[in-house]
Subunit: 266 residues, 4 copies
């Protein structure tokens, strides 16, 4: 009997014009949610429509991967914008993806901040508030993807937004549930077998932390990287492990409960 | 008793970052419809939100001014795109503006192709069809702005879209109802008094053509230029003339009949 | 007998495509040095060539106005680049302007960092060093424009570069020779007569500081703003005052002594 | 004894920010000339400097790969520019690359128009003239890369520029010495052995044409593609074949005679 369920997500549609980035074709059949770049840090209208259509063909739920307006820097560095300006740039991106979804008779599932915006917001209440306000003003039913246990997740729930708490199967966790910072021992796990097993553990809500203790961590969605070497290999291994463990992989919107409920799937 | 009614429209929000273009602040209180650039040939998210808000403050209806993706060329030259690619770029623009409107609790009235796209489509059935298909896929209730009597207007009606037929008070018309080509005698009318009077004539459906004959021309909306020297002066004079002539100036959505009805206001 | 000599400079060629910024046509006959934007924070190849040609017609010396790669932000905000990346972006700009000068049989006089880069460097030795290294690698004969008394000026001289120390006639100076920070009393001087007189004082090397004491400040070039309201009016008034005071206005390369000499014109 | 000599060239540095395109690292040791994108259709300042440095490390000669300003379209489609505007955009690119070469104490060998510009010019005298005029105004010693027997090559010689006539080992030639148009039988040769042999034939000045006759065709430089699947494999095979045939591979500047001499190496 399948008791556990989890969403698998990847960042897709990150090319631009002649340029490709990431193994979109390989990833799409594996994931249940796709976060699609909206043309400012990556992506363009042609790639957006194609990626939306591919997602719908695979019953993959679609979200807006919103980032700083910085194609050259790929949204990996902050762009100095006033709160008000950033608000406008994020709203622009939500709308632009909505156009493609509406034209296909589909709707948006979620919003995931990209790159440095995701990381900054995770520890910055005011930035998290801004992101939530943008989403609220556009569509209060959207689900926000945020690091499990982050400030972003807390702020979103306070604002009445649904949150998908996100975990990383290839990253180590401290006993407190935060990611082991890159550069430290155990920050990144490179063994594909170990990563797959951790994915299953994350889906079940318990994972071994960096000091060997068992960490309880409710995870709604696991992030699969699409732009690392052998990204597709890792993704397939993770999916196979989840299937073998009879953990169902479904878009987070199909199982996420109300935002007010504190914990959403149990 | 006021019998005649007409819409006055202008292209607004055409700046970019530090750059301004056009007399937006002067034009907004005069026009009843604003076509707002969507960030690809001009405009940016910050300018878009500001322009949307200013429009709503003045009860000015808002439309998407969609163009070729070409900031440097300002959408005044064609960009070589496949039909499919152009479709994506136009849809992207509709969505991006929709985001700002939705966040303000407002909705989009119309779509106006910009620059060379407007001119090309006016005489190209296949391009007009593409534009109509994009609009249909996004929101079939949107009104398309097209030159009065153009191929674009015909195609749109066949497609079941509502069309606002657009007239130009500062341009000469041939007896056949087409614009006297630029460069020919009588192409552009520069006298502000004459332009104002022609605006009133256009609103009433009859205007003197280039050979002196009276041309019947049903016009729903008159285009006011915002980026010419003394644009605001012309706009004020036209508005004053219409007011004096008791011609009501209202957003075209408030008086445009069904697309199928052939003629819409009478 | 004319004893004093000074350079007048302005930032020109700051438009982009359809957009204009600043009163270039008015400023060019007034200034003796033009700093031309190189296409990354402003400017484009067409504007660059036109501005270079106009400068040469007026015997105005030409410099590269180099900035952060950020058209939307106009180089007014820092872009997060590694030192090595910034080096590349600056070198790119020097080369691009050089092409237009070489094609006209002319040569570059100076380099002026733009906007936030100029301000950051003025108090940052490592950034000043980077800028000097770029210039050195490109052409060690170029003159660097830097705030009078700034770290940039010191670093440049240590590196063996010639420096034009720049003054601002419309800004107040502290008794220590630094600018009164914007926002404080006396930071900006708005009276055109007073600004003109201060320009003459700066050219002669003595100006009244914010506490009323006389400040000795050797200035090689005075910056005229081209993008403020009535920029041309201020520029003409300053030029007229200098002419009346028999202070010669010439490109800084015609009177600047060796970099090693500490003080350059006396 | 080695009698024959030929240049091998490839288009390198075609990435942008996070995006890569082509197998630069594999190609650089194989080719004798590198055409480097200058930031308008591809490339950026960081990639330009890196590619210049790698070229110099391998004693590979460097040229400017100049194209239409169109990152999204990658210079594969024409951009509608006036002759004068295109002149400015090309000159800008020459200068920008020159900066990086000068900083390394190196100099530019050649100019190669990119993509559609190369193809358009090959059959358009006026466009070829424009390109030659740009080069002349910048540095009359530069070598222009042009299709063997093209209008571009003729115009360049008339203008007194040196030309490297370029051949394609993977393309079929008509008995008249033009390329068999893509889409026709024999347009593209896919067998690596055959391509290698044709490279050697081209270097020796005789190649089998599409009707089986022997075509005399003086080729100075052979273009190796860097962005096709197995590009590096083809390049290595061609280089090995030339080495085995004792055909020397050297930068074209080391053996190209005067432009006026009609034929340059014999």
């Amino acid at each position: 009997m399948s008791e556990a369920v989890v969403d698998l997500n990847a960042d897709l549609g990150e090319g631009y014009g002649p340029y490709t980035l990431g193994a979109d074709a390989d990833m799409m059949p594996i994931v249940s949610s796709a976060s699609i770049a909206c043309g400012l840090h990556a992506g363009d209208p042609v790639i957006m429509r194609r990626t939306v259509r591919e997602a719908l063909q695979h019953d993959t739920a679609v979200g807006a991967h919103v980032g700083y307006p910085d194609l050259w820097g790929f949204g990996r560095r902050p762009v100095q914008l006033s709160k008000d300006e950033l608000h406008c740039f994020l709203l622009y991106q939500l709308g632009s993806l909505e156009g493609f979804l509406r034209a296909e008779g589909a709707s948006m599932q979620h919003v995931k901040p990209h790159g440095i915006l995701y990381n900054e917001a995770a520890r910055d209440e005011s930035l998290s508030t801004l992101i939530c306000d943008v989403i609220h003003s556009f569509d209060a039913e959207l689900i926000l993807f945020a690091p499990a246990g982050s400030i972003t997740a807390d702020v979103a729930r306070q604002k009445g937004l649904r949150v998908a708490e996100e975990g990383f199967a290839d990253r180590g966790y401290t006993p407190q549930g935060t990611l082991v910072p890159r550069g430290q021992m155990g920050a990144v796990i490179e063994d594909v077998r170990q990563v797959s097993e951790r994915a299953a553990e994350l889906a079940r809500g318990q994972v071994l932390s960096s000091d060997g203790s068992l960490l309880e961590l409710k995870i709604d969605t696991i992030c699969l990287h699409g732009d690392t070497p052998n990204a597709a290999g890792f993704a397939r291994a993770i999916r196979a492990e989840l299937d073998a463990a009879e953990i169902e992989v479904r878009p987070v919107s199909t199982f996420l409960k109300e935002s007010s409920s504190g914990r959403r799937h149990s």
